[in-house]
Amino acid sequence: MLWTRSRSAARTLGTFAVASLLTLAAASRLHAQSPTPEGTVITNTATVSFTDANGNTYSSVSASVNVTVGFVAGVTVTGPNTATPASPSTLNTVTYTIQNIGNGTDQVQAAENISVGGVITVNHYVFNATNYATLAALNTALAAANITQNSTIQVQVVYDVAANKGGVATVYTLTATSVRTNTVNANKATTITPAQTFAVSVTPDGGQNLQKLPSNGTNYTFTFTVNNTGNGADNFNLVASHTGTAVTIVSVNGVAGTSTAVAIAASSSTNIDVVYSVGNVAAGTTDNIVLAATSVGDNTKTDNGTADLTVIRPAIAMGKAAYRDDQATLINTTDLVVPNEYIQYKISVTNSGASGATSVAIADNLPAQLAFVSATGDAAGWTISNAGNNVSASLTTTLAAGASRFIWIRAQVK
């Protein structure tokens, strides 16, 4: 059997090749068409006309055939792409529209998925102005709701947002499945990202009255607390500085220099060590160590913490007085001593500074007219030795600020 396709045959019969023209105006009659409704009977009627060999015409002959359209399910789900509720917040609503794009009446069942747990919690669902506490209850209602071809229903998902979830995205997906053909479904995913608030505080804010010796190679550490008071995880730029001339910043949070950055979870805090040195400046010099923390998420959110500092030093004063051998009778400059007499010198050290003094040592070289006999300390802690008249005494303990210690040196007048 020879089957001839339309185009080749048409070319052989150019007589019929009269192009039909249709302007775009006519084309505008094109319109969107829904699928043929279930149960529609499509009737196709063909007609044949002919003549016989003698040119006699005959009545046209027609024939028809019917086909009936069956059911095909179709579902679409539309809704918002994104939502930005507050954190924390309650009773936020996202509305989904479910349309029956099949060619017959159908019902749907709903399913949901939440990609990241702990961000949102579904409070309830709303369908036809009725609240349903659970998805199962919603589906019971949906199963009884006939949706005609091209019709829509709306399902509202009412949800709560947990605290401290600013910026933490989760995807809520609502899936609608045809009841009549449960392999047909559609879904809509909504990315829910709770709005993030940015805030920071740094403590303490002064009042420590730190008293520090000049470093002389020894660094000091002060610990600030940086609090992320926003509702989401954030990074913070940290910059340490000082207001006076005594301090030099060595490192911040273990990073050499004056700046670094740190990540802190929502509503959490972290301790930041600022290492610094104190210059060789006069006692009483004051300075302030400042740690500034600035939110990376919102650089208008910044706060300073402060530690105030005063430079201290020990100040040793020495006193020496001569006593009779009873250690009680003071020998004034006008008093006389006689050969072979025993006298005693009381040598005292007093720390009048604001810091304890260590390695306090006394050296006393007795005059040649005297002969060293012995030396004792006022209390434990002295290490005393002599080489002839040269007497050395070292205090093995710290001479606290304001404290005073002394030794006795007994000698005989030659």
Binding site: S20, P35, T47, D52, A53, T68
Partner: protein, 173 residues
Amino acid sequence: MKRTVERLLITGFLLLSAAFAARAQKSAPRQQALKISAENLSAHMPRTDSTHVLPGDTVRYRLLFTNVSSGAVHGIVLDNPIPAGLRYQVGSAKSDRGDVAVLFSIDGGKSYSAEPTIDVVVDGRHEQHAAPSEMYTHVRWLVRGDVPKGAQLRAEYDALVPSVGAAPASLTK
């Protein structure tokens, strides 16, 4: 007398011829000259079930013309309006004879063309573009030659049932 008999015979023959001719013009051939059948080509439907289709299915319509008259016929024109709701599948129309031209209408059967075109304005210029399949309204088969007594002519084409979920366009018929 002889002339009278001849006149009567001629008159009778003419009357009979006229009567047969008049009968031939007013009545269709006694047997069914045209049959049309439908087959759902989609795999999910049984091929034996030609009466049910689903959106998205393709239906193949087969036309069978049989010359049931007593002699050859010619000037055969098979017309088939594409049923409303169906979309002609471009390139599917064919026949089993080589002297058949297949033509199409996109204006409800007012005019026919082997390749219907539409006028499209592109950058201010009018251009002829092939008409989209959804604009096709009729299929016509024109047979140039004769069909002998008892012979058959087969023609067919495919049509799509608009599917669910698509956003098809269709000519208003």
